[in-house]
């Protein structure tokens, strides 16, 4: 037996914090990073007698999500109480959705891998439901005591539950990345993983290939980076396979991933699992979503990445790979579309090359996001138009781009003009330079005439050097050949 005899089965639960300014059931601010407990209202700290009131902005975001995945938006869904005691859970229960979630079903097709081995995989959604987050327990700062910060208590979450459709950590990461891009694309979540706005739980089980029944699963809690997601799943699946291969067994459990050791460890077994005693929250009416509300939200939806990708291929004649790369994030797509709008659609391919090439490389080096790129789409378009009309070569264009990046000019034309970078296309001027070079390099001329093609390149190079790169290389080549023959 070996590892290849086993199939890994993964389902993900993603908690996406919805980007409303207020909390889900109170008017307190949901912003991150305030002093402890200053954003905890009477409702958030669960004073006696307070009641929750649903923030409709949260519902709208759930509708957006459901529409993006082709899910069923439940006309009536129900908030339930999940009962358990913990100091950072002020009411002693979390308001969530249980039997009747707001978003039901749906599908997302994700691109797994790159290049030759890349493939597309559809992943089904089980559901997505609305719930409130708990507060935070702080154990480090108080000797022998714990601090409780209730700023986070009541921040709105969308819990996105997938079917166990993923078969490798790579697929799980591809799915998580696609979801991460999507929630930002439709502007319902800021996706900030460091601040916990987007976090994953992975349910992992293994089974012999060909076996239909699912194996015993263990749930890895609170993975807040794609790298940890991958490492945790790889370790956990390996551990499960080894354990079973050894003839041993394990029970259903919740585990934690320790990034420092790269290992998962048991948090609680099934026996220790809480009985959450779910029941419909009598303080909240069933959530009724009228068809008109869904239609209003639908009308406000941005073009989705899949539709945009198809459009890029059809209307802009981009390759599938280019179209896919340009729609990995809303920001990239926005930038690209703005550049194309300024440069004209005939230059779409040139825009694509530069956005994914020079721009991406510079952003990467500088550690910047495309939304804050120092070169605006309009500036880039201006530059690309000068390449297209033959005013500058690609090599010169890169210099101009660098100048734009460091703010040395308002637009490409200004820099080209100021630095005198405009390509020399005047035939007589180039002819003069060609003649000079021929006169100064009799040896190379001799070699070329003797049939050595390579000598021509050297001569052309001399002309280009003399023109400081500005001479049109094609023209130089043609003239040189003409003069020598």
């Amino acid at each position: 037996m070996s590892r290849s005899d086993w199939e890994i089965v993964i389902g993900l639960e993603i908690h996406a914090q919805l980007n409303t300014s207020a909390k889900i059931f109170s008017g307190a601010s949901a912003a991150f990073g305030a002093q402890p407990n200053v954003q905890a209202s009477a409702v958030d700290i669960a004073l006696p007698g307070v009641l929750p009131v649903l923030n409709r902005g949260v519902v709208e975001r759930a509708i957006r999500f459901g529409l993006a995945l082709g899910s069923h938006i439940a006309p009536k869904s129900v908030f339930a109480r999940k009962n358990y005691f913990y100091p950072d859970l002020p009411k002693g229960y979390q308001i969530s959705q249980f039997e009747f979630p707001v978003v039901q079903g749906g599908i997302i097709t994700v691109q797994v891998g790159e290049g030759e081995s890349a493939y597309e995989k559809p992943i089904r959604l089980t559901r997505a439901h609305l719930e409130e987050d708990a507060g935070k327990s702080i154990h480090e700062d108080f000797r022998g005591m714990s601090g409780i910060d209730l700023n986070r208590a009541g921040t709105p979450l969308l819990e996105i539950v997938s079917e166990p459709d993923m078969r490798s950590s790579a697929e799980a990461v591809a799915y998580a990345r696609a979801m991460h891009a999507l929630v930002r694309w439709i502007d319902i979540c800021d996706g900030n993983m460091q601040e916990g706005s987007f976090r994953c739980d992975a349910n992992v089980s293994v089974r012999k290939k060909g076996v239909e029944a699912l194996g015993t699963r263990r749930e890895i809690k609170n993975l807040n980076s794609f790298r940890f997601l991958q490492q945790a799943i790889d370790f956990e699946a390996g551990w499960q396979i080894e354990t079973l291969e050894d003839g041993s067994w394990f029970e259903q459990a919740t585990v934690l991933f320790d990034p420092t050791t790269g290992q998962t460890r048991m948090m609680r077994s099934k026996e220790d699992a809480h009985d959450y005693r779910y029941f419909p929250d009598p303080d909240l009416l069933p959530l009724v979503i009228e068809p008109g509300w869904v239609e209003r939200v639908r009308a406000s939806m941005p073009e989705l990445p899949t539709a945009m990708k198809a459009r890029f291929e059809q209307e802009l004649c981009l390759s599938a790979q280019d179209a896919s790369a340009l729609t990995t994030s809303k920001e990239t797509a926005d930038y690209f579309q703005a550049a194309v709008a300024a440069a004209g659609t005939v230059h779409a391919k040139l825009c694509a090359n530069w956005v994914m090439g020079e721009l991406a490389a510079c952003l990467n080096r500088a550690g910047l996001e495309i939304a804050t790129a120092p070169v605006s789409p309009t500036q880039l378009a201006g530059l690309l138009l000068r390449i297209a009309d033959g005013s500058i070569s690609n090599a010169i264009a890169r210099k101009v781009f660098e100048a734009l990046w460091s703010g040395e000019g308002a637009d490409a034309d200004e820099i080209i003009e100021r630095e005198g970078l405009k390509q020399v296309t005047d035939n007589s001027a180039i002819e003069a330079m060609v003649e000079e070079v021929i006169a100064a390099n009799p040896k190379s001329v001799e070699e070329f005439r003797a049939g050595k093609e390579k000598a021509l390149n050297a001569l052309v190079g001399q002309v280009m050097k003399a023109s400081r790169g500005k001479a049109n290389p094609t023209q130089v080549n043609d003239l040189m050949r003409c003069k020598l023959n």
């Binding site: 009641l51 009131v53 100091p87 009411k91 002693g92 229960y93 005693r277 779910y278 029941f279 303080d283």
Partner: protein
Amino acid sequence: MTLAPLFDVPVSALRRALDEKEISSVELANLFLDRIDAFNPGLNAFITVDRERTLVEARAADRRIARNEAGPLTGIPLAHKDVFCTEGVLTTCASKMLSNFVSPYDAHVVSLLKRAGAVSLGKTNMDEFAMGSSSETSYYGPVNNPWKIGHVPGGSSGGSAAAVAARLAPIATGTDTGGSVRQPAAFCGITGIKPTYGLISRYGMVAYASSLDQGGAFGASAGDCALLLSAMAGFDMRDSTSLDRPVEDYAAEIGTPASDPARPLAGLTIGVPREFFSVGLGDETHASIEDALAQYRALGASVRDVSLPNTRFAIPAFYVIAMAEASSNLSRFDGVRYGYRATKYADLVDMYCKSRSEGFGAEVQRRILTGTFVLSHGYYDAYYLQAQKLRRLIAEDFRRAFSECDLVAGPAAPMTAWALGAMGDDPVQMYLADIYTTPVNLAGLPGLSHPCGFDAAGLPIGLQLIGNYFSEARLLTAAHRFQQVTNWHLHRPAPIARANA
């Protein structure tokens, strides 16, 4: 004819006296505060009385009256059940758990009444967290029935009912989850109304069973209840179950003259559910109810039999739902952020266990445990879901009944006030006493109780009127017309309510 003392006149008479400057709000407040000082030690109707705070409110009311800006309740003293949060004032729910809790905010009802200029005399005693039918489970000791010391005033709003009956307050707020306004009103010989679920905001009313809890009003008469209810009602966006509809002026509605003064209730059909007159109903209560129904007939109403066949399921359905919700609602009392915390504990779980075991009384713990059980995995369907089905059947019973009649009438309770401790260690026996009141909460309907007689021991008997949704005006009008031709509501427990402080 001797004039009734000022502590024993309708609110409308107090209004006139204040407006005519015959008395100031401060004087009126002092009158009742003095009566509380004199008689509360024997009754234990109040948990908190803050004379200074009351007088500050009364002085503000006097200024408002002087500016001719008085509303119907400006300067009128009242008492709040200690389940309503009151800013800066102890709000205990009669529990050790909240014995140190000073609320930083006002309940919606409290702020409405403050804005109306009503003057709060204090917070009244009750069953702990409103869990009980006798006001005996209070951490602050049991409340006595002013009609007979040593007997219960009913519950859970027993303190408010006793205070109004003993004229320690002209009117008082209460809450009614399964009869907690109507039954103590009956036991104390006063009028009490619980409106349609959602009419009064629950914001700031400490929750027992959220889907059943509803604020209510106590007064000596339907007229006094009408004034208080109008002031308590109204949409509140902070309560998702609050109903967005205009507030009615019930006092004006009941004051509308009848078209046929000789038969002022002509055209009204009163349904009498035969299930309310079965085994368990005391003979004296039965007789008084029959007499009252005869009186309603004399007023022009037609009385007919109706059936509420699922009445027998009301008690089990009610207690399953109420305890389930209570077990969750009371989870916030964990000793972490406010309220009672045990002084010695080993770890977190021990802190929870000790704080809650020491902070909650026996009945509250019983209901939390039972509620936790019925919601547990494997039992939920058998108990909670079944109870919800019964709840729908009971509501359906009423829907059918109201296609045949305008109001349903019957006893508010099967018996009169029992002696303190008489129910002993049998909680179920006490739960069964809620047989006539709990169906109304399960259906979310309005219900009213008004006095209609006395038993041989001199303890009051109450008639319950149940209306369709939003029929508060009709309920109050019927009771008002009854009270215009009867004097059961004018009887007062001697010697307390007859004596000056």
